[in-house]
């Protein structure tokens, strides 16, 4: 990296091309496809969505008029739908995140050590993760039908009269949360298993020598050591829960009575069914803000934790 040694051809042909310059040129050449694509299909659209969100777009005349923050005011103040949607998204996240993480940790604790049957169960719990959300939603919609659904027919066998899961707002929300947890919990289980396996066995052995029981070991040794992983998993899961779309689109279509209309679905509906481009873009920016805040909280907490 001294700049004196030059490779054969370039040295004679282009004396100005020092190693340093060459490295810089090559570096940008290597990243250029990624960067160009990123600018066109990501950064550009991100800037465009900000402009859209400040405009009124008339699709008939194809004219865009600047209207300031009216779309945001519309969402945050005038339109009661918006807060209903936010409420749904928060309920969805508040139901999904704790359920997902508790189950993931419990399964990880049960399956983190090699043993007979462990591979089978890990494979089973992870199988829905590789299955498409569409297939998972279709099958569960089938299972959760009113009287004819397999779930209710089985409940009937033990004498329980199951509700029409996807047709009653509260039950529908519970159903989409639980089936989504079943779909995704395997991923968090795997992340927790990786975290658990990175904890040295000595800690546990030392605690056991001191006479600590299983619960005490978990409470005093394992859980604190898992804290950084828990934080990351929690943020990933929360952000993911705000992005959920296909699952709800297929299971309930946002219904019944908009009972499962969540933010991602609302954006889709406003943009591609009602063509309220400006309003949908303002919603998209609000979604971006929510995800950004969640991510920043994660980074701050992590720094606080390591300090």
């Amino acid at each position: 990296m001294t700049g004196h040694i030059r490779t054969g051809t370039t040295a004679t042909r282009a004396p100005w091309l020092t190693l340093r310059r060459r490295e810089m040129f090559e570096g940008w050449l290597f990243v250029s496809p990624t960067v160009i694509g990123f600018l066109i299909f990501f950064l550009g659209p991100l800037i465009a969505v900000i402009i859209y969100s400040l405009s009124e777009w008339n699709l008939l005349s194809q004219q865009m008029t600047y209207i300031g923050t009216a779309n945001y005011r519309d969402a945050l103040i005038q339109n009661p739908d918006f807060w209903h949607v936010i409420r749904n998204s928060v309920i969805f996240a508040a139901g999904l995140v704790p359920l997902n993480m508790t189950l993931a940790l419990a399964l990880a604790l049960a399956l983190c050590r090699p043993g007979r049957g462990v591979v089978f169960f890990r494979t089973a719990f992870f199988a829905p993760v590789v299955t498409s959300a569409v297939a998972w939603a279709i099958v569960w919609k089938f299972l959760l039908q009113g009287e004819a659904g397999a779930v209710n027919q089985m409940l009937a066998v033990i004498g329980i009269d199951g509700p029409n899961w996807l047709r009653e707002p509260d039950w529908a929300m519970a159903a989409v949360i639980v089936t989504r947890v079943l779909k995704m919990v395997g991923l968090n289980m795997i992340l927790y298993i990786a975290a658990l396996q990175s904890i040295p066995r000595d800690y546990e052995d030392a605690a056991r020598l001191e006479g600590a029981g299983n619960w005490q070991i978990f409470r005093m040794v394992t859980w604190p050591l898992l804290a950084p992983s828990t934080l990351i998993i929690m943020v990933i899961t929360t952000i993911g829960s705000f992005k959920v779309f296909d699952h709800i689109y297929l299971m309930t279509g946002g219904g019944p009575e908009n009972g499962t209309l969540v933010l991602a679905f609302y954006i889709y509906e406003q943009a591609f069914e009602f063509f309220n481009v400006g309003y949908a873009s303002a919603l998209a920016m609000i979604m971006f803000a929510i995800v950004l805040v969640l991510a920043l909280v994660q980074i701050m907490l992590r720094q606080k934790g390591s300090a």
Binding site: T7, E23, M24, F25, E26, G27, W28, F30, V31, P33, T34, V35, G37, F41, F42, L43, L46, A48, Y52, G117, F121, R122, T123, A124, F125, F126, A127, P128, V130, T131, S132, A133, V134, A135, I138, V139, W140, F142, Q153, L182, G186, I190, L191, A194, I236, F242, K243, F245, D246, Y249, A264, Y268, F272, A280, A284, M287, F288, V291, L292, A295
Partner: protein, 282 residues
Amino acid sequence: MELTIRQAAIVKKLCWTLALSVVAVPFLFPFLWMISSAFKNANEIFGQPNLIPDVWRWRNFVEVFEYQPFARQYFNSIYIAVLVTGLTLILSSLAGYALARMRFAGAGLLMLFLLSALMVPEEVTIVPNFFLMKWLGAMDTHIPLVLLPVFGPHGVMATFLMRQYFVSLPKELEEAGKMDGLSRLGIWWKIALPMSRPALAAVAIITFLFSWNLFLEPLVFLSSIENFTLPLALSNFTDPYGSPLWHLQLAATSLAVVPILIVYLIAQRQIIESFAMSGVKG
């Protein structure tokens, strides 16, 4: 009767297995029910729930292909996923290599920019991308289904996964390659890539599944039935009133899911590890 320690251990083990089996029911049952219902006729599907159909109706699988161009749709999903995976592998390993090994002005800033992309959901940029594709004349084609995953947050995640892996590799072999007169591109192709098989496999697996399972983008960009990809096709088995034709829908869903499950069962270890890699690092 007192249990010996050995017997107690066996009982405990049995209890654990039993408990885990109960928990596993809602994870596995849907697959079994899906496959069994795929063989039932429209009436039996709503009859008494039984896992083994009374009459095995193989015709469902024929009708799936008669109802819509399912073979075509299946092919669409395969070729798009292969294309997306190939492009992502090449671009993410190129960019990941540069970010890991080459020092060039602006690299730090670029990293920060790319990292920020990981936080932005696809739903945020889908509206402008819709108009971009319309302007490019790419509506109702597969172009957006290839370009958006390759260059969107997923591609960025793949780039970071590759970068992290390249950083962890020893530099000596590459230095030797340099001495032997290999160009940068040669070092990347002949030395760095062969050493990064685990990372490349991880990126390939996650990317293939990501593309295979994509739903929002096909829903927004595709309109003709012969251009549909599998997830969109599966949601499309409905009667004229919009009610699902369950026996066909479940037969089609089985056809879409079972091959993936078989590959998963064969390579479950590799596949699970790939997801762990992307989750921890991405």
